[in-house]
């Protein structure tokens, strides 16, 4: 005779006797587990999404910004120093072997006009390496050449959003548009990249040769930022170190004397870490809700199991009289608590997956149902059942059979 099978049967029957009570008891566990499953799923979905978008920045991406500068004791914010120069860019290209591509960039916002259409967009200046660094292909035409850059030719490449807004269905290649009243010839159209992590439309830009934008549109000597791409993923940290060393040397920054860098390097890895940090904060919040919910659920289970033990004192007495040992009674009530918790857990998993799907649909995240989240949730609910079912089960097993039989 299978003892385990019978204990399970008895447990299900006992729980089925009070369906509403069992459901209410399991509710804490249901919510807790749903939280765990949804958290892990949503967190994972958001992480994948962020990763995807950061990868769309380019591969092995490094970005060098001008840093703070202290003038007469007052520190400017990031970008306050304009000490990144064209020479720095050349030196970088020449001397840092771990870097595959380098491009000076500069950006401004301006109104672009074509015929009777106009559109305000981000005008970016870049060099020929720019599309290689950003791993951004062209949909039509071609990118401008190094010659275009050196001679500050008035050519440009449009993002998909700008193209749609200015040209509609018209073919823009070879057409002239005006940026700040300067005519530019459209030589190419970028592929669509979609929205970024922050919800910006990445396709809303015009890219023109760096020198053209710097001289003709902005009239400045400062480099906005330098984009670079390490030769391989493993070389990213080394490239970062080498660039730092080179720029410190060139800018005569004496770290030992306590001077701060007047530039800042951010790598893709760091940006990824930052995005992960954000999703971790959100996860921590949901985890604490899940934890509290499981705790409350566990207390609910303990409470109801104690009631159940009292209600069934006589049954316990009978079972003991006909030969049930303390361990048999303990096992029976423990199994009942665990069955309650696990059933709650299973419902919670279903609910959690539902929540996750809904959130994913609204946020446009990829749905990723994590099998390990489901196992984790399952293990958690079983653990709660055992932890909070143990005391009532112990209490039941310690009843005196004589008193239990006499109990009304």
């Amino acid at each position: 005779m299978t003892k385990t099978g019978n204990i399970l049967k008895v447990a299900f029957r006992a729980l089925g006797r009070n369906k509403l009570r069992s459901l209410l008891t399991a509710l804490g566990i249901i919510i807790g587990v749903a939280c765990v499953v949804a958290t892990i799923g949503i967190g994972e979905g958001a992480r994948l999404q962020a990763e995807d978008q950061l990868k769309s920045l380019g591969t092995n991406f490094l970005m060098i910004f001008p840093g703070t500068m202290t003038s007469s004791g007052a520190k400017t914010g990031w970008g306050g120093s304009s000490r990144l120069s064209g020479d720095d860019v050349d030196a970088l290209r020449r001397e840092v072997q771990t870097v595959a591509y380098v491009s000076a960039t500069i950006r401004t916002v301006a109104q672009v006009i074509y015929g009777n259409q106009n559109w305000s967009t981000s005008i970016q200046g870049g060099e020929v390496d720019w599309p290689l660094i950003r791993s951004w292909n062209l949909a039509q035409g071609q990118f401008f050449t190094d010659q275009d850059n050196r001679s500050a030719s008035k050519v440009c490449v449009l993002g998909q959003t700008v193209k749609t807004n200015l040209f509609g269905d018209e073919d823009p290649i070879g057409k002239m548009i005006r940026i700040k009243n300067i005519p530019f010839k459209v030589v190419g159209i970028l592929d669509s990249k979609g929205g970024s992590t922050m919800g910006q439309d990445q396709d809303d830009l015009v890219i023109a040769p760096y020198e053209t934008v710097r001289k003709k549109i902005m009239g400045t000597t400062a480099v906005g930022a330098i984009l670079a791409s390490a030769a391989s993923n493993e070389l990213v940290p080394r490239a970062q170190e080498e660039i730092t060393a080179l720029l410190q040397q060139r800018h005569r920054i004496n770290k030992a004397a306590g001077q701060d860098d007047d530039f800042m390097i951010r790598s893709q890895t760091e940006m990824l870490q930052q995005a992960e940090e954000q999703s971790r904060t959100m996860s921590a919040l949901l985890w604490s809700i899940a934890g509290v919910s499981l705790l409350v659920g566990g207390i609910g289970i303990m409470n109801i199991m104690l009631v159940s033990v009292t209600e069934r004192t006589r049954e316990i007495g009978v079972r003991m009289a006909i030969g049930a040992k303390g361990g048999d009674i303990r096992a029976q009530f423990l199994v009942e608590a665990v069955v309650l918790a696990i059933t709650g857990g299973a419902v919670g998993i279903g609910l959690g997956i539902g929540i996750q799907r809904t959130v994913a649909r609204f946020a446009g995240w990829p749905v990723s149902v994590q099998p390990n989240a489901i196992w984790l949730a399952f293990a958690f609910s079983a653990l709660v059942g055992i932890a909070f079912g143990f005391y009532p089960a112990l209490k039941a097993s310690r009843l005196d059979p004589i008193e239990a039989l006499r109990y009304e």
Binding site: M1, T2, K3, N6, R13, R17, R314, E315, G317, V318, R319, M320, A321, I322, G323, A324, K325, G326, G327, D328, P401, I402, L405
Partner: protein, 248 residues
Amino acid sequence: MTQPVIEIENLTRVYQMGDTELRALDGISLTVAPGEFVAVMGPSGSGKSTLMNIVGCLDRPTSGRYVLEGVDVSGLDRDARASIRNDKIGFVFQSFNLLSRTNALENVELPLLYSKKSKITEEEARAQAMKCLERVGLGPRWDHTSAQLSGGQQQRVAIARSLVNNPAILLADEPTGNLDSKTSVEVMAIFQELNEEGKTVVLITHEPDISDHAKRVVTFRDGKILSDVPVTKRRIAARPVPAEGAAS
């Protein structure tokens, strides 16, 4: 001489109630041979329930010796006593004590669940339980729950349950206390039949009508045995024929 089933020597059970000591059993000695049918009588508070708890291994004596089928069980711990109860004692209670919402057959099977005598299959357990149910004339009602059975039928299921592990003694505590006189006679008829087949029966009651069905009556008063006499004018309860599933 055959080995006695129950051998009690100088048994006492003292309850400590605050400062006062209550001697529920005060140095009693009693021997029951196999195949006996003993009725234990006495007013409430005479110690007969205490005796039943000790004989049934639900409780331990304060002092003295209780030997059940040659084994001294007076000093066993909880789990060991649970095993003895499962193996050697068949309980029948005044209030039947069947599990509610559980059918007759499953109730009868219950002791087998806790049995460690031998690993028997589910089918064997079922067959054994069915045999016991048929023995008390309730074979056709095996799937009725206690709510669907009359008091007499419930008590018969309880008797079947007490028989299922083939115990050394049947220990019945006021088994007719909740039954009307007609049903009581039917239940007593079953005990008499089982006794005829060789089962040792110990019956606790305070009704002379019921104790007359036994072969020997032991009367208690104030924790001591007042008298221990054979029944002279024994009543033989006749079970109505056929008893199969008869409304009782």
